[in-house]
């Protein structure tokens, strides 16, 4: 009986330790905790070119993370990319004339959306559209333009 009891206790400890390890992987290691505050509000923005932006890329304002990209699709009228941003509820005082640009973190890092606050008195609400957008910087295009202007300047 004693033997049986200690077996059960150690098995219980083993199962608990395994679950704690999984919990730690969820909370401490992965971004699982972010999925809980899914209650943010949705705003869309149209970009000419989104470069390497992906779903779940961060949305920041002055470097502070205020949301993430929740959906990317292609507009069939303008052939622009329509990006849906999911902004956290505690950042609900973002002016309606805010500008959204796509930046790259570091020289080769992943791309994210940076918001610059406007001066409007009204704030963005669920379903609103951000009109002022700036497309991603595609390095090949920039180099191409640079070479072109260089060649023009020589003449």
């Amino acid at each position: 009986m004693m033997q049986n009891k200690s077996t059960e206790i150690t098995v219980g400890m083993f199962v608990a330790a395994g679950i704690v390890a999984l919990f730690m992987l969820a909370m401490k290691v992965s971004n699982f905790s972010e999925f809980n505050d899914d209650s943010g509000y949705q705003v869309t923005a149209e970009f000419e070119n989104i470069g390497g932006l992906k779903v779940r890329s961060p949305v920041t304002m002055a470097g502070v993370r205020v949301g993430r990209v929740s959906d990317i699709s292609l507009s069939s009228d303008t052939y622009n990319a329509v990006v849906t941003l999911s902004l956290y509820n505690n950042f609900d005082v973002i002016p309606t004339d805010t500008a959204a640009s796509i930046y790259t973190a570091g020289l080769l890092g992943e791309q994210y959306i940076g918001l610059e606050a406007g001066a409007e008195e009204e704030f963005l609400q669920n379903g609103d559209v951000i009109d002022l957008t700036q497309p991603a910087l595609v390095l090949e295009q920039v180099i191409g333009q640079f070479l072109f202007s260089k060649a023009e300047g020589d003449e």
């Binding site: 098995v11 083993f14 395994g18 961060p58």
Partner: protein, 260 residues
């Protein structure tokens, strides 16, 4: 010439027969699984010998694997000035690959071989036939609890391995090499995805647990009932498990992470 072809045919038939027997064995085992819930003490006992007794090995190996990853990763990353990404490197390689695979290999060596030897010895000492004489189905009474115990233990062990490994990587990275601890954890959290990385790793370890326990139990059940036969069956368990784990790992990785 004819003799060679004949032996080839015999080998092929034998292989397929064994495969067929293995699958029939699996179906009978699965059919016995629901009955375990009426006798949970059998399962608890097997969880102890399959899972708990492997914990120490898993913890020590995980810690050292994580520490080595930290050292090696740092040496490579420091060339690019990206040593803050050490946490990402350690966590992704452990959670996606090394956690499930290495712990499954260790599990096959530690618990799988013990299962095969135990069942094989039961068979050679005619304990299994004895049970059948008493109208107790050995598959339900002996095999099914062990199978379920292996299936439950494996993901828990893999999670322990990954968690301890990440801690080992942190110890080396922060304590020995001086990587900033805030950057270590925050970059890791940004880049490691719960569904794509952690859950896929858990799915992998469940698949490995299933396959390793199945192989181990079948080899024991199918062993030639002599001491030599049991010895050979134990060897086969470890070898076949290793093949199955590494082969399946490739297939699973291609399915999970292949489409970038």
């Amino acid at each position: 010439m004819i003799e060679t072809i004949r032996s080839l045919g015999r080998w092929g038939l034998g292989t397929f027969e064994r495969l067929g027997r293995g699958h029939l064995f699996l179906f009978r085992t699965l059919a016995g699984v629901p009955e375990i819930f009426l006798r949970l003490s059998l399962l608890v006992h097997q969880l102890f010998s399959v899972g708990v007794l492997s914990v120490f090995l898993i913890l020590i190996s995980g810690l050292f694997v994580g520490m080595v990853l930290g050292l090696q990763g740092y040496n490579t990353l420091v060339d690019f000035g990206a040593e803050e990404s050490l946490g990402v490197l350690v966590s992704l390689s452990l959670v996606r690959e090394l956690g499930p695979v290495v712990s499954a290999l260790l599990f096959a060596g530690r618990a799988g071989s013990a299962l095969t030897a135990e069942i094989g010895l039961m068979k050679s000492t005619e304990q299994l036939s004895g049970m059948e004489m008493m109208a107790v189905d050995p598959i339900h009474r002996v095999i099914a609890p062990r199978f379920l115990a292996g299936l439950i233990s494996m993901p828990l062990l893999a999670a322990l391995f990954s968690a301890v490994g990440i801690f080992g990587g942190f110890l080396v990275g922060h304590g020995l090499l001086g990587v900033d601890d805030g950057a270590f954890w925050s970059q890791m959290q940004v880049k490691t995805d719960w569904y794509d990385d952690v859950l896929n790793g858990v799915i992998k370890s469940i698949v490995f647990g299933f396959v390793v326990t199945w192989i181990a139990l079948f080899e024991g059940y199918d062993a030639t009932p002599t001491s030599e036969g049991v010895g050979r069956a134990t060897t086969r368990t470890v070898v076949h498990s290793a093949f199955a784990i590494l082969g399946l790992d490739f297939v699973l990785t291609a399915l999970m992470f292949g489409e970038g």
